[in-house]
Amino acid sequence: MVTNNGIVYLIALPLIGSLLLLLLGRKADKWGHLLATALSASSFAVGLFQLSEMLSRETENRPVTQKLFNWISVGSFNVDASLLLDQLSICFVLLITGVGTLIHIYSISYMSHDKDRRRFFAYLNLFIAAMLLLVLGDSYLNLYVGWEGVGLASYLLIGFWNQKQAYATASKKAFVMNRIGDMGLSFAIMIAFASLGTVSFSGVKEQAHYASEATMTAIGVALLIAAVGKSAQFPLQAWLGDAMAGPTPVSALIHAATMVTAGVYLIVRSNFVFEAAPTAQLLVLIVGAITLMFGAIVGTAKDDIKKVLAASTMSQIGYMILGAGLGPAGYAFAIMHLLTHGFFKAGMFLGAGSVMHGMNDEVNMRKYGALRKFMPITFITFGLGYLAIIGVPPFAGFYSKDMIIETAFNAGGLKGILLGSTALLGAAITAFYMTRVMILTFTSPKRWDEDQHPHESPILMWAPMAILAIGSVTSGFLLSRGNALKHWLEPLFEEHGEHQELLAPIVVSGLTLLMVAIGVASAVIKYQLSDVDEVAPESVSTFTRFARRDLLQDDINEALFMRPGQAITSALVKIDERVVDGAVRGIGKIAIGSGAQLRKVQTGYVRSYAALILVGAVALIAAIWVVTQ
């Protein structure tokens, strides 16, 4: 493969920015945010340059690598710290640095009153660098470094506003759930290392043909666990809603456009693993289908605008995972939806931030209404994102979502019908809850107090929103024209055979639009044409109540994992501190030392410790004895 020594600048620029801002401390307060923004923008420029270079090369020469140094070299096992820039990673590079830069610009104004703005920008830059490392690593181990790095940066960013207890708790839940995902990734790496002898993408791809299906399934399932944790998919979805406690630009960057899509990247990148492991691939489909419904249902019941967007993100990533599970036919569409989603969802998050900015940080949509008149630009940009997400042609979401639904139907047999119908139903619910957001926020009568003075945000905030809105309008058309993205990514995947068509594309599009129309219409009837309560009504159906409680995700997690976990821990602590002593007390008091100084300052008595050693020794002998016999 061709070597290109320019790749590292993509990562180095934001990394340098974050280090400078952290090391210089208060000295950089005046200009730190500008430097960070400039460095993020230059990284985007490097990305554009790389893209133009890549376009000028022949298809087979497009992927380029750069070896940084020899990281681990243990006998025959060799891991270089190397970067790989190919057709897939360049998409992510441009998304991360592009949206990232816009969010930097937005944050200059959004965070202008925060005395720690410099630190915030340092973390933003750190996040960008880590995320780039994640998508540019050429092996699972390098990816893992970026993977942990974005985790770290995201805790720093979520926890940035840590005056409130809720923020700390949110960080904690996000941490635990992500940890489970990270564990999945380390399992995958160690299994690949131990049974395939390599952890690089190219190495695993090569070995995938020879390895047993059981091995590939194990790796695939472990990778899926990793993706599920990072991308907030069922059953590790609970953290995303709570993570909304962080600053809104962070939600736009991390929880909409970039980090949460890392799971999709991982699955698409590991396409060779899932091709060799049908069971794991089926699991991917199931996870995607469940999550897209789960998120959509939760989205209908939330009153907090950011939580609705979070639920919607979860659901849209469900679509992407579904697409990624559909094999070579779906990879390109999963990535296309990821890119278009990056535009419209980031735009809507920034829009939500703009609304909150004008409404004294109020997030309850029942306290909004009629903001169209006061925030016209926000309304228009948010509205364009809205049209994109529900999938109205010719806006971006129409192209990408429609293709996923179509491919799902074409998956064949009962599976195809089930998946296709789920995706179709999800589209209707999406249309419903997003219309609800639009109506409650912008077009319904005003429900806010007189002391609120809603106003449009400054240009530094609305300009990024406008740019993202342009993306929400055009990106779908541009990426799907002549199957541009599909052909671009094609060389990376092993296509096999033609797929049968269950329904003609035009029928699928028609059905989808019909479902969307139904969703929009019911929302209009329920919210625009009738009055909206200022507080959420109490007498609602059980179903609504469940949806408001995120379909009981926290209760289930608590009952299944938290309580037993706590019980085990406290039981062990008790055993360690008391039970041992209690059990031994009967044996008699062994005289130890000169009493007075050995009062029970600490919980442990020497005699009980000694007895424990004795018990251990007997157990050890017994164990060896049993084995020997």
Binding site: I72, S73, S171, D576, Q602, Y609, A610, L612, V615, G616
Partner: protein
Amino acid sequence: MINFYSPTLEYSLLAPILIVLGGALIGVLIEAFAPAASRTRSQLFITLTSLVLSLAALIKVRNEGSASAAMESVTFDGAGVLLQASILVLAIISVFLLADQENFTALAAALPGSEQERDSLRQDLKVTEIYPLTLFAVAGMMLFPVATDLITLFVALEVLSLPLYILAGLSRRRRLMSQESALKYFLLGAFSSAFFLMGIAYLYGYSSSVSLSGIHAAVVGGSGNDIYLLLGIAFLSVGLLFKVGAVPFHAWTPDVYQGAPTAVTAFMAAATKVAAFGAMLRIFYVCFAEAYWQWRPALIAIALVTMAFGSLVAIAQKDVKRMLAYSSIAHAGFLLAGVISLNKSGLDATIFYLFVYGVATVGAFAIVTLVRDSAGEVTDLNRWSGLGKRSPWVATAFAGFLLAFAGIPLTSGFIGKFAIFSAAYESGSTAILITGVLASAIAAFFYIRVIVLMFFKDPIEDGTTVVIPSLFTQVAITISTVITFALGIYPTPLINFIQSTAQFIR
């Protein structure tokens, strides 16, 4: 009629140990004859000089392997050199911490709370005996992993242990607790030494030999009574597992770690682990390798329980030293994974892990010594909240060590864990891999909780401050931090060196 031979000693190979012992003796003479005022400085000088000289001697002879450095009692080989070098490096870093006399009592013999104690504090007396005691302990630790007959092994065990018992009781503050923990450590240590001796007796009964090669020959020949072998392995293991703090022989660890002066805890936690695991590696790899089907399942069980137990109980700890103690128990479990791998990559991985874990441990405890209020060190974790806002550098360094313990990439801990679990998986222990990764994930939870506490919670205004570190402590923390991150980013040279060097001569 028994013939006696005068022993032949390869002095050049024994020089590293002899230099440390010589330094210790000079230290004793200084205590006896030098005026009190000049003792601190001269002791520190002698201690550091002899440790550095010993390291130099070790580097000089590193390629001269020999199975008979002292008549089969001491075997000098690649693995031994690496372990000795690790112990010396860790000891040197720890001595920088010991040099901060604020940690130690003014007069060890004075009763806590007595008039004599107040006098000694007023006169600003110093317990300079800690230096020769440390050197004696280091000498014992260096002998422990190279000893190849069981009697020498036992002598080394006692030489390394006895000074530690005393050192553990010398804390300046909370002296009752410190003395209690020292006595506890001593009693339990004696108890486990008795097991160790019993093990030696059984193994002699089994093989009519106390040398590792002799016992190995008997194991291979299979002529002895297997019951004796079984009991011998079990009892010997109890003694070793006690020293490394594996469950269920761990109970002393939290109490002693908490009670001992923090500098001593650092030294003990880092260097003792290297010595004890070094000896364990030699015994199981050289002596009992062929009887693996007997001891391996039991040791795997202990490793699993130790990892899980240490990680889970650490979650509930509210004292930073106790938390680090339980974390060290969990790490003992991870290290056991290397011992039971019983292959070359297991040996390499264990040696690497021992070194990097030791360095991070010394660094972490060094930082504990800095967080104080008017009554001494503050080890209550709740009072560490907001530390990152007041002292970002200290908190960042501590966070770095915790990330290394947690095995996050770009720290040395990640490379160590990766190497050791892969070695275990290679040897067929899927259970170790799964439990190990699970336990690391649980462990990461409480490490990160401390980081969150330091950086994301508001400081409590209760007089908890970070003192400006003395030059010595600064050096210790800097060295540890640099090593921890350097070996995470670029571990290849050290790994290659260990791979090419680490081997046991039978």
